[in-house]
Symmetry: C2
């Protein structure tokens, strides 16, 4: 931070942003990493860099910013259901939604688990569509041994404060295509002095030096924090083992993963309480349990009003929205916290029918 | 900065952002100041908060981001010419451009000089239009004794690194309307947990704590830096006095101003060299002279291609684009620098006809 003040170089792609971009590109084994003010803006810039028009297919089971970014970029989101096992978009689910107005597919690597990359690549190629990814969850994750950041035409990452790699606010886009990289860099800066290639609309999406400095510190810790997350994930797995209807989202042990989201599936048929009842009780015990994502993007404003055709047609998304729960993980969570939280869950579920009766009588 | 790390509260409207918002509101005497990631994004959010549709009239003689923000917000920019004396949009210039599709007027307080506030207010009221301002240049400036930030329905400020009040990257919107403030705050955060009022499309426009910390430091220095700028402005005035065809943009001494832009008018009829020739020679002497704004927003891509109807119809904007020049000012400029720069200008212009001959023979 002191260096930033000494140099009086606060933004406009100063030395810290350039260093962060080089280190990210090297870490992910990708030609270009282009830092931006945040992940949402990076998605908006990516959509413009691909010169998209009309409709873009994306999964409804994603953070709402994925869909918001498309609207800001002048596009129509087409909400796709997801696979019940992977929770992500697949070629099988996306294919029937393609129309003459479709220009692209925006895949999402939810929980850091790659979506159906091979299937979507074939589909996009066969149908002449552009393909890009929201990789907000997936920094440091791999697919068939290759780092996320190398797939599709662009991948977009978040460096929000809640992420395992963070710059307080921040994000970046990656690509192996030099022309797309030039477009991303050009659109990022509203100022015509920084023009690498002729593009249309531009914006201010610049990352400041202070953001980059925090991002660099965080990048140093990415590997160790991911390992730490993995240990906590394993601890949750041990402590919740055998509880009827309770299971963790699983990861392929042969791939790299950041384990930054601890997602529990609460099976409404098997568990003694519903996900919503369980979250309510955990919140009362001051456990930061969250319903994630509830509702799906297609059922949140403005999408539910502007695109009502999706509201009742995405059963897997609706089901996942009603049964998944996020539990605490990360730097400030210890293995003992995990044991305490899991002990609470066990106690609550063991008294499930009694608790449910009381909840209902409280009305 | 240390406090930010200690608190581990990096974004999402932490204590520093709240402190900056309170201090800005108090400084400007306005009910609400709402910090955002940068001024361009703040303009986009402001346009959405006003629920605008269709066409918005704005001056063509402005930084291009003013027009870019409207496109991102799904609106059509209608480029208006400016007044030759004030360089800003006036009711007289805007009135003929109003159509059935016009939803708003976006005024710009160029060089910190308020645009035709009274005229635009009457016009907007008579025609049922919304009225908001790009006040990126005008923090700490006043109109009829009242601080800029209190006019129209929203005013939007920039805290870019190049500004007299800066947070490296940053911006904020001000309003005296509680409902609009709630809309601005809601749209700023993509997350539904922070919903103050039902709105449509949201975005991530959050300012981080690190940005706010830098903004607070800069706010402490705003008054002294403005005074310093004023001294340099006066020095430029003294040193350039009597040079044919050279004059400074003037300010109303009865109003507050930040004097952050040192703008020189080079009259092509009176000066020995054109603005472009003068800038070229000053650049060769390592003086940061800039042609400002060249071209006008209506002649820059994508607007010149998408809205060609304005290209040849805004004579005052075109004239100003060809004759105004910005000279160095601010923290790193001393009164001696001003004397040196003005000495150079005097020497160059005194040898104007000789230099012009050489420039032409060089082709």
């Amino acid at each position: 931070m002191q260096g930033i003040f000494d140099r009086q170089f606060y933004t406009n792609h100063g030395p810290k942003v350039r260093e962060l971009e080089e280190r990210l590109a090297s870490h992910l084994g990708v030609r270009h990493a282009i830092c931006m003010t945040n992940g949402t803006t990076a998605l908006m810039v990516a959509a413009r860099a691909l010169d998209l028009e009309g409709q873009v297919i994306l999964p409804a089971f994603t953070f709402i910013a994925t869909a918001q970014a498309l609207i800001w970029a002048g596009l129509e989101p087409v909400f796709c259901d997801v696979d019940p096992v992977t929770h992500t978009i697949s070629a099988e689910k996306a294919s029937p939604l393609i129309t003459q107005n479709t220009s692209a597919i925006l895949g999402v690597h939810l929980w850091g688990r790659p979506c159906d990359i091979q299937g979507l690549e074939s589909l996009a190629q066969n149908k002449g569509l552009r393909l890009f990814y929201d990789a907000a969850h997936a920094v440091g994750c791999s697919h068939k041994g290759r780092m996320i950041g190398n797939f599709g035409e662009v991948e977009v990452f978040s460096m929000h404060a809640t992420k395992v790699l963070n710059a307080a606010e921040g994000g970046f886009a990656t690509t192996n295509d030099d022309l797309i990289a030039d477009k991303l860099r050009t659109i990022r800066n509203f100022h015509t002095t920084e023009t690498f290639v002729e593009t249309s609309l531009r914006i201010n999406a610049k990352m400041s030096e202070a953001q980059a400095a925090m991002g660099l510190l965080s990048l140093d810790d990415l590997a160790s924090n991911s390992l730490r997350n993995k240990d906590l994930y394993k601890a949750y797995g041990r402590c919740l083992a055998g509880l009827p209807g309770i299971s963790l989202v699983s990861y392929d042990e042969n791939e790299a993963n950041n384990y930054q989201y601890l997602i529990v599936d609460v099976d409404p048929e098997q568990a003694a309480l519903s996900r919503d009842e369980l979250v309510l009780l955990l919140e009362k015990e001051n456990v930061l349990a969250r319903r994630y994502f509830t509702p799906g993007a297609h059922k949140a404003p403005p999408f539910c009003d502007d695109f009502p055709q999706y509201v009742d047609t995405l059963p897997v998304t609706d089901s996942l929205s009603s049964r998944l729960m996020q539990l605490p993980l990360g730097e400030n969570t210890t293995e003992q916290d995990v044991e305490t939280i899991c002990g609470l869950i066990r106690t609550i579920l063991n008294h499930g029918s009694e608790i449910r009766q009381r909840l209902h009588s409280m009305g």
